[in-house]
């Protein structure tokens, strides 16, 4: 199986308190923030690796994973890290975040998919910076491929399809999608038995989470292919459809008050908060 994984570099969400919005409100100031791969995309990569190997022998590849990111030269660090983790090949589409929106990324990815011809595209359900949750769905529409979003489990099936489990209110919905397809993943995809590939024994359980790359893999990743593609090569029209009107920090929380009993609470909820 050949899988394309779209990976975005985001400002570390754990440093959210360092995010600043300038007075003009026209952008989010990312200077001084630590960059890391979007966690959901890291989960997508882990899922893709599990689908293209025998879990007992992860060093021998049994399939191909191509990682792609849209970003400036520095994002090659993120791609090299993905290669160190096990991906076979990387593509960087040269662009900066302000030149992109979900629609344009999806259109460019469509051209890349037509070039690379993967059986499956896997990506995070959303990036934790913009939280747009758009690219996977738009891409499936553009390709006219089936899509399964927010995957918690993926099972490879013999008949050229995957069975995707999504957690919904009150249970789990299972979707059988014919390949080629687009799957976006949620965090449960990295649990020990969330991904089943026909190459791995049913009884095998992975360590929970995303695998780590040791020094030999980091060294080997330097020799794996990483190519650069210009955005204009992939999308003729690079105009943005989504524009941001204004950024605003959430209002600071006001200090709470203590009430002495339920009656006072109900009274305040009615008269002051006006929610009852």
């Amino acid at each position: 199986m050949k899988i394309l994984v779209a990976l975005k570099r985001v400002a570390d969400p754990d440093n959210a308190n360092k995010v600043k919005i300038p007075g003009s409100g026209d952008r989010v100031d990312t200077t001084g923030l630590e960059w890391k791969p979007n966690p959901f995309d890291e989960y997508a990569l882990e899922a893709a690796l599990r689908l293209t190997e025998n879990g007992q022998q992860p060093k021998t590849r049994a399939g191909e994973v191509v990682v792609v990111t849209f970003g400036p030269k520095e994002t090659e660090t993120t791609l090299r890290a993905a290669l160190a983790t096990g991906a076979d090949k990387a593509i960087r589409v040269d662009a900066t975040d302000d030149q992109l929106d979900g629609d344009l990324v999806a259109r460019a990815l469509k051209t890349l998919v037509e070039r690379e011809k993967p059986d499956l595209v896997v990506m995070g359900k959303q990036a934790v910076d913009g939280d747009s949750n758009q690219v996977g769905q738009i891409l499936a529409e553009l390709l006219d491929w089936p899509q399964a979003t927010f995957a918690a489990t993926i099972e490879e099936e013999a008949a050229g399809s995957v069975l995707v489990g999504r957690e919904v209110d009150g249970g789990v919905a299972k979707l059988r999608v014919k390949l080629p397809a687009v799957v976006t993943v949620d965090l449960r995809i990295v649990a020990g038995a969330s991904v089943y590939s026909t190459k791995t024994a049913r009884t095998f359980k992975y360590n929970e989470g995303v695998r780590f790359a040791a020094l030999p893999a980091i060294m080997a990743a330097k020799k794996k292919p990483l190519t650069e593609v210009k955005l204009a090569e992939l999308a003729a029209d690079t105009k943005l459809k989504v524009t941001y009107a204004k950024f605003q920090a959430p209002p600071a929380r006001k200090a709470g008050i203590k009430v002495k009993d339920v009656a006072e609470l109900v009274d305040k909820l009615q008269k002051e908060a006006k929610v009852l």
């Binding site: 890290a81 020094l215 030999p216 330097k222």
Partner: protein, 382 residues
Amino acid sequence: MSSELIFETAEHTALREQARRFARTHIRPHAHAWDEAEEFPRELYRAAGEAGILGTSYPEELGGSGGDVSHVHAISEELVLEGHSVGAVVGIGSHGIALPPIVRVGTDAQKRKYVPPVLRGEKIAALAITEPGGGSDVASLATRAERDGDHYVVTGSKMFITSGCRADFVTTAVRTGGPGHGGVSLLVIESDTPGFQVSKRLKKTGWRASDTAEITFDRCRVPVANLIGEENQGFVPIMMNFATERIFLAGQCVAIAELCYRESIAYARERKAFGKPLSGFQVTRHKLADMATEIAAARGLLEACIARHLRGDNVTNLAAKAKNCATDMLMFVADEAVQIHGGYGYMRETLVERLWRDARLYPIGGGTREIMNELISKTEGY
């Protein structure tokens, strides 16, 4: 980072990123609880082994990840900075002083038997030099190993052994010959040997997540095949081991101090007094500036020492200087961090309180501050 990493490459950066992720997922959530419990789960060794962390600086043919001291330092710094548990980091790192003598002077059979399971995190290795009767004076150690056929019969005891409570084997300095450093040998003693006993689980000021043991040997019969290097030639590998141990310890000092510094900046910005944040007072800013300066100096010396060591220079002298410089720096920085945190800095749930307790180990362990000065005096030739 309070300073740029000029001695490091893109591989170090990638490795640091991996180590941060490991620390965030496997260490940080438990850092405080492990300190209180005075232990971390044995499973952490296996996880670190699987992530390739334990194998760093060991040859790939022994199950290692390759690399050198600089890679070990990069990983350990990130584990401390992001994991917040010095005890756990030094606990999973105890093989860093127990295995090198085996790798350096051991036979192929010894290497194959002892190194790979430790790097996989399946077995725990510890180093035992210090004794209840003396630590700094290595040449006077009293644990006897008498030859009896193809065994040594070992009797004596060892003190302050990091990871000693759970170690599967202990690289042990014993006396096989006459008095002085010419009578010292290194033996691998497995903990299931009859007569091997953890006589005491020691309670410490800091490094509490790691276990520390007093171990006694009561006529332990150890196969002669477990002799590391030549008989009575143990002193040199022990001393060679000390040089890298001191680099590791100085590296931990820099990491802990950096963490103290970061915590202090965050607290100074957030805590208000007299109507403004602590960082609004010159006295606080200058404290932070002094901390940053001391850290930068110790880091500079440490990195120079690592670079020289990797170039093949003898760094006995410089590693001793780097250790003293780093431990003095850490004592100062950790103390100032507690001071900036005020009453909260004296409370058990505050990170810098724990780091301050961890800090006190460093001028003592791996050769005291005074022994470092003796080494420096000797090598300077006064």
